[in-house]
């Protein structure tokens, strides 16, 4: 009887452990996917932010930045991939292609050529 009770304890504990572990594995997979989404968001933001810094009028997918009505050199864009062409992603290394279509929607502003200063411009 005592052996049966012991087996029961061990079985319950082991079952709980295995169940928890499988849940954690699942959680890990989800975290990894989230990391990919985050990396894709970071990538899109960095590319378009850099293009804005360099003074380019268009984003990486050739769509224009939104021009601020008060400060014309202030541009804004969203990292939301909905409605945008992601064909440019295929030109990236393979590790950067993942989850670009699931990037988080961030509203980003960038000032055009903030480090370029000249006598004939502000």
């Amino acid at each position: 009887m005592e052996i049966l009770i012991a087996i029961l304890f061990i079985s319950i504990g082991f079952f709980g452990y295995v169940a928890l572990h499988s849940r954690l594995l699942h959680s890990g997979v989800r975290l990894e996917k989230r990391e990919q989404i985050r990396a894709a968001t970071d990538l899109i933001e960095a590319i378009d932010f850099s293009r804005g810094l360099l003074g380019m009028e268009g984003r990486v997918d050739d769509t224009p930045f939104t021009v601020d009505p008060l400060v014309p050199n202030l541009r804004s864009f969203s990292t939301d991939p909905k409605g945008r062409s992601l064909s440019w992603v295929q030109q990236l290394p393979e590790e950067h292609r993942l989850a670009a279509d699931q990037a988080l929607p961030l509203e980003v502003k960038v000032y055009r050529k903030p480090f370029v200063n000249r006598w004939n411009s502000r």
């Binding site: 304890f9 928890l20 008060l70 050199n73 960038v110 502000r122």
Partner: protein, 654 residues
Amino acid sequence: MRKPRGNVMLTALFVSVFLFFLSVALLYSNRQDIALSLSMEHQLKAEAAARSVAMEAFGQLREFGEIRRNVPTEPVPGVTARMQLVRTPAQENRGELLLLQVRATSGVVSSYLTFHLEESFLAEPEGQTSKVMLFPGGEESGAAYGDLVWTQLETSLPGGLQANGGPAFRAETVDTTSADQPAFRDNIPLFVPATGELFAFGPALSVIPAPTEQTKLQWLKLNGEQFDWVEIPYPFDLSGKAPEFEPPVTVLDWTIPGQGWSNASVQGVGDQLLTHTWRDPQPSAGSVEEIQDTLVTIPSTAPGPAKDWSGGGAPSEWFVLRGAVAPLKNDLYAHAWHYLYRPYSGGAVATPTALNGPVLTRWPCILKYTTEEGVWEKSWAPLDSSGDVSTDVVPDPGILLAGSEGSLFGVTVGERRLLTMTGQNEVDVGEVVPNGQLFLYRNQPYIYDPAEAQLGFRSLTDGSYLGFQTLPDRVPGVAGMLADFPQFQSLGIDEAGVLDLSSEGAIELPPRKRQVMLPPYLLNYQVADGAPIQTEGRNLWTLLDIEAVGEESIDPLWSTEWYKANKMEGGQAIARFDGDRWHILPNGLNNFLSRNRIDPPPEPPPDDPPPGNDLNLPPGASNFVVADYPGLPGLVPKYTIIAVEQDPFKFLNE
């Protein structure tokens, strides 16, 4: 038999407890993973929000010089942001900075971003603020208004402009030998040596030689948005009425031996005409014998191109501009000759001498022209209407300075003693002025000697130098300006830093240090050859040569090859001294040096402005002048990012 069973139970309990704690450990580590993942996502959002807010605030500062629209407090859904502007006082070789600080918080993660901004003004923002920096360059003339942006002008600006808190003036020496000669109808006395009697004959026309050259003046007037040149009339309109004599008439041509005389007289002696000149206020000769060698025969010819200014027997005076001019706000001071013609009054004299006759006196003076009223007036004139001269001090016509407190400064001819001229005819003779360009700064005389270009400007008051000590003597080896933002060509994906639980319970991310390492360079400054020097109030503008010196790195970390490969070329920059520190215009020293240190993108973006905009110095910068016109836009500072950092900071009111 019961002891083994107890062992089995104990083992089972131990395994169960072990699995329990193992599960707790797994759960805890999973929570950490989730927290890390969440914090990284918060970090992503917080950083994006901080960058956006900083960019929006910087954009407004750069465009308008001020924050006109509140920056968003929730730039990204779920992320709060706060911004503050903090001024940091000047420290040693670093001037005052404006810190644009943004903190964005997403969840428990806060991201910090600070732009170190250098502030550049065309002039000190106090007092009169409607300044414009004019760049004379003929058809390529330009102007930088209060916003420090160069634009091309439609009006052509020649060199040699001057201004001092008012409009720009221009002085030009023109040949006037063909101008009408001043002439006076007069009765010339005739002295009879045998009897000592004095008679008069006439009328005769005394013709004074026209000046060989005059100073022609113009001032630059602002009409709406257009600059126009306005001619300044000569001190007194010399186009008097035409001669009214019936020819033939006796014409007496006065002679002027060189430029040195100050008095002249003419009279007849027997059948001869006598002329004599002298510098003393009173005649030195008293007999015909003393001046016999100056006798000339009386000519009798038709009048030449002369204008009759006879004043009905009263003394006549007129002025001829010469030499240097000095502007002060809307007024212009100018060296001039003061002419005074005293006709022969006739009648009996107590003791007739050979020198009784009409007297022409010429003496230096300084005139003032007021652009608002368009009139000339005497500012400093030792010669009075009676012909007396209150001082024999003769200023050098090549130098004239106007102090803001009403004093005029110059130097004596030859010895170059400093002259301080006040009132109508008072003058104070000071110390000998060394060789070099004399100028006033804050009403104190300074001298610039090209041999002391590296030392700066020497005060004649205390001998101290207004040098370049407040400018950095070296370029630091670490420059983190561009690397904090990824460039398209060197794109990198951010990685999260190490988490840290702060004392306030919020997770703060340590700053990511990404800096460009370059060899340090020693800098040398000196006044550029032929640089304009202009002052007004606390402002002093000039042109500096800035270069890196030395052939080998002062830091042994860098090889000579590295040192040379990254050495900036240097060049000329317009600099402004504000009374305490120097400022390199228009975007500061850091930007001036960065121009040489950091390569531009290999291909210009397609929307880049047309060629010609990459101006190190605008055309005509070697002759720039800063003028002041009411109605022009006020001063707007230029803000230049000189550093970006992500270190945490405290808000002032926290």
